[in-house]
C-alpha cells in the first residue's frame, strides 16, 4: 500500500521502533521562544544535561516584545525578566538567539521559513501550537508543551505515536478577492475545532497548488484551530522557488540533490487517508468569525446566527454564550458590525504579501474616524522589505500605526491589547474570550478584509469600498 506525504516524512525520522512503545522520532529543527522555554532550560540545569544539538536549535524573542520603542527596556518587569531569562539560557547552552532589535528577530514561525531553515521533509517542533505553519513546505511540524521542549533540547527526539491521516482537498480555484485566510476559516467552520483531532491534515487540490508559499503558510498555520497538530502541503515548484538562495537552503550540487528528494515527497496514488473532506473553492467568499472559537465563522455576506436554530445542544449553548460575550444579536448582518480596532499581523498573516494586500486597499484611503489600526510586521526582515517597497508610507498615510515586529495583539502578552468590551477585526488566529486582552471581542479576518474594515469602520471586504 502507498504512503501519504506525512507517513513518508514520519517514517524517515524513526530512530527506534518497538512494539508496544511509542516510536522515537528525530527532530531536525527546534524553534525556541521566551514563553515556553524557561522551565525547560531549568529542567536541563537541574539534571545537569546539555542541549544535545544546539546546531539544530534557534531562538527568538517574539511573544512579549513591545512593538514601539525597541531601544527602551521592556517596561513590564515580568516580561523583561522572561526575555532576559531566554538570553541567559541561550548564552549558557550555546543556542543561537535573535533578540529584540536584531535584524533577524521576528515571530518564530516567520523567521524559520525566512531563513530557509524550514525545508521539505524535515521534522520541526516548537513550544507553540502554530508550529503547524512550517507544514506548508512539506515538513512535519507541530507544537509541543514545555516538558517536550525539554525532551527535545536534551535528546533531539520525541516519543510519538503515528497520528491518523486526513485529507482536505480543495478543488477549483479561489475567486478573485478570496484569500488563503478565507479558505482556512471556511475549512475550520466546515470540520469544526475538533474535526482534525488526532490527525495530520494534508491540504491538496488545485486551489492549494495555486497558493503562494505565504498563502500555504496561512492555511497550515491554522490547522491547530481545526484540532490537528500538523498540516502539510506537498512541496512543488512554488516551494523550491521560495527556498532557492535563502541563507540556509542547500547550494550548488546539494540543491539539485535536495530538489530530487523533495520532489519524491508526495502522497502515493494508492495511499489511504483515515478521513477525507472535499471543499469547492469556487463557491467561497470572504469569511469572518462571529463567535469565540475559530469554528464559529460565516461568509461575510451572512448574518449573526440564531442559536435557537442550532440543533446540537452543546453547540447551541456554545453559540448562546459566544453571542453574549461578543455583544451580538442574532440576525444582525455581519457587515453591520462596527469595530474599534483593526490588527494586522501574527504568524498567520504578518508576512510581506499580507502587508501588500493591506497597503493596496489602504492606498488613497483613510482609516475611519474612531478606529485604531495596528500593522505589525511578522519579522524585522518583513518590516525592512515593506519599507523598501514604501508600504509603510501608504499604511501611515491612511492613519494606521506602523509598528516593530512581534506577536503583539494576537495574544496581548505585550502592551498591545484590547480593553474590555472593545471589538477588533484581526488577522490573527484565535478569537477566544480575552485572547487580545481581557474582555476584548475578536473577529478573525483576512488582511484584505481587515484593511477594508478599517476604512469603513464595519466588517467589510475591499469590494464593498467605493472607488478612490
Amino acid at each position: 500500500m502507498g504512503r501519504t506525504l506525512a507517513e513518508k516524512v514520519y517514517d524517515a525520522h524513526v530512530v527506534r521502533r518497538v512494539e508496544g512503545e511509542p516510536d522515537l522520532l528525530y527532530i531536525d529543527l527546534h524553534l525556541v521562544h521566551e514563553v515556553t522555554s524557561p522551565q525547560a532550560f531549568d529542567g536541563l540545569r537541574m539534571a545537569g544535561r546539555p542541549v544535545r544539538r544546539p546546531d539544530l536549535t534557534i531562538a527568538t524573542e517574539d511573544h512579549n516584545v513591545p512593538t514601539t520603542d525597541l531601544l527602551a527596556p521592556i517596561a513590564d518587569p515580568v516580561s523583561r525578566t522572561q526575555v532576559e531569562t531566554l538570553r541567559k539560557n541561550c548564552a549558557e547552552f550555546g543556542v543561537r538567539l535573535h533578540p529584540m532589535g536584531d535584524d533577524g528577530q521576528g515571530i518564530v514561525h516567520v523567521i524559520g521559513p525566512q531563513l530557509g531553515l524550514t525545508q521539505p521533509g524535515m521534522t520541526v517542533v516548537c513550544g507553540d501550537s502554530h508550529t503547524s505553519t512550517h507544514g506548508a513546505f512539506g515538513a512535519l511540524a507541530h507544537g509541543i508543551g514545555t516538558s517536550e521542549v525539554e525532551h527535545v533540547l536534551a535528546t533531539q527526539t520525541l516519543p510519538q505515536v503515528k497520528p491518523k491521516m486526513m485529507a482536505v482537498t480543495v478543488n477549483g480555484s479561489l475567486p478573485d478577492g478570496v484569500t488563503a485566510k478565507d479558505l482556512i476559516l471556511a475549512i475550520i467552520a466546515e470540520i469544526g475545532t475538533g474535526g482534525g483531532q488526532g490527525h495530520i491534515i494534508e491540504y491538496r487540490g488545485q486551489a492549494i497548488r495555486e497558493l503562494s508559499m505565504e498563502g500555504r503558510m496561512t492555511v497550515c498555520n491554522m490547522s491547530i484551530e481545526a484540532g490537528a497538530r500538523a498540516g502539510m502541503i506537498a512541496p512543488d515548484e512554488t516551494t523550491f522557488a521560495y527556498l532557492k538562495d535563502r541563507p540556509h537552503a542547500p547550494q550548488g550540487a546539494a540543491w539539485d540533490e535536495a530538489v530530487e528528494y523533495w520532489t519524491s515527497l508526495r502522497t502515493d496514488d494508492d495511499a489511504v487517508f483515515d478521513k477525507e473532506v472535499v471543499i469547492d473553492a469556487s463557491t467561497l467568499t470572504p469569511f469572518v468569525t462571529w463567535g469565540t472559537n475559530p469554528g464559529q465563522g460565516l461568509p461575510l455576506g451572512e448574518s449573526v446566527p440564531d442559536p435557537e436554530a442550532i440543533a446540537d445542544p452543546t453547540e447551541r449553548q456554545a453559540a448562546e454564550r459566544a453571542l453574549q460575550y461578543m455583544g451580538l444579536t442574532a440576525g444582525t448582518p455581519l457587515r453591520d458590525i462596527a469595530v474599534d480596532t483593526v490588527f494586522v499581523g501574527s504568524c498567520t498573516n504578518g508576512r510581506i504579501e499580507d502587508l501588500r494586500a493591506v497597503a493596496s486597499v489602504l492606498s488613497g484611503r483613510r482609516v475611519a474616524d474612531g478606529v485604531r489600526m495596528l500593522v505589525v510586521p511578522g519579522s524585522m526582515k518583513v518590516k525592512q522589505q515593506a519599507e523598501a517597497e514604501g508600504l509603510h508610507e501608504v499604511i501611515s498615510a491612511a492613519g494606521a500605526e506602523w509598528r516593530e515586529a512581534g506577536c503583539s495583539m494576537c495574544l496581548a502578552m505585550n502592551p498591545d491589547k484590547l480593553t474590555p468590551g472593545e471589538r477588533s477585526a484581526s488577522t490573527s488566529n484565535r478569537n477566544f474570550e480575552g485572547r487580545q486582552g481581557p474582555g476584548g471581542r475578536t473577529h478573525l479576518v483576512s488582511p484584505a478584509v481587515a484593511a477594508a474594515t478599517a476604512v469603513t469602520g464595519r466588517l467589510a471586504a475591499p469590494a464593498d469600498l467605493s472607488a478612490r
Binding site: 511509542p22 522551565q39 513550544g127 509541543i144 517536550e148 536534551a154 484551530e225
Partner: protein, 195 residues
C-alpha cells in the same frame, strides 16, 4: 512525576465546550519563568464571575474536573496543565481533548480521561445533584466509577505504565542514546543547521 494508579475524589462539573487553554490560563500568567504559582491563574477570567462553578464553596477541594467536548484546545501552553494540577486537580474527564493538551497532561501526571458525551453528562449531573459524591478513576483497570455510572476508558499501555510508575520521558529516552547517535550518523549532510 507523581505516580497515578487510582484516584478517588469529588468532581466539578464544567458544562462548557471548547474550553481553550487561553481560558484555563490566560496569557498574562505565562510570563512567569518558574513552574509554580499557576493555581491563582486557573480560569482567572471566569473566576471573576461569582456564579462560576469553581467559586461555589461546595466544590472546594474537588480533584476531578468534568468538562464538555474539546477541552484544552488552542495554545500549546503546558502552563494549563500546571495550573490545573497546582489548583488540586488530578483528573480531567471530557468527551474530547485538544491533542497537545492531552499530551502535555500525560507528561505531567494529570490524567485526561475520554468518555462518551452521555457518560460525561451523567457524571456532571451527579456532581450537580450531590457535590459531595465521590468518583473513582482507576487507571490500573481503566475504569471510572461515579455511583451507578461505571465506564471504561481507553489509554495506551505505554502511557498507562509510565503514569503508574511516575516516569518522565527524558530518562527513558536517554536509555536509547546509542540509537539516537546511530541515527545522527546517517542523517543526510545537506540538512540545514542553525550554525
Amino acid at each position: 512525576m507523581e505516580k497515578f494508579v487510582t484516584h478517588t475524589g469529588r468532581a466539578v462539573p464544567l458544562r462548557r465546550s471548547n474550553v481553550d487553554t487561553d481560558q484555563i490560563i490566560p496569557a498574562v500568567w505565562l510570563k512567569q519563568v518558574s513552574r509554580t504559582g499557576f493555581d491563582k491563574g486557573l480560569f482567572s477570567a471566569w473566576r471573576e464571575d461569582p456564579a462560576f462553578v469553581l467559586n461555589q464553596p461546595e466544590y472546594a477541594g474537588a480533584t476531578v474536573l468534568v468538562a464538555g467536548p474539546d477541552f484544552g484546545t488552542g495554545s500549546s501552553r503546558e502552563h494549563a496543565v500546571w495550573a490545573l494540577q497546582q489548583y488540586g486537580f488530578r483528573v480531567v474527564i471530557a468527551p474530547r481533548f485538544g491533542d497537545i493538551f492531552r499530551n502535555n497532561s500525560t507528561k505531567m501526571g494529570l490524567l485526561p480521561v475520554v468518555l462518551p458525551a452521555e457518560t460525561v453528562e451523567a457524571i456532571q449531573a451527579r456532581a450537580e445533584r450531590d457535590p459531595q459524591a465521590e468518583i473513582t478513576v482507576d487507571l490500573e483497570n481503566r475504569q471510572v466509577t461515579a455511583g451507578d455510572v461505571v465506564a471504561s476508558f481507553e489509554i495506551d499501555d505505554y502511557t498507562r505504565w509510565r503514569l503508574m510508575e511516575g516516569l518522565d520521558d527524558i530518562g527513558l529516552t536517554l536509555r536509547h542514546a546509542d540509537a539516537i547517535a546511530d541515527f545522527e550518523r546517517n542523517r543526510p549532510a545537506l540538512l540545514p543547521t542553525t550554525a
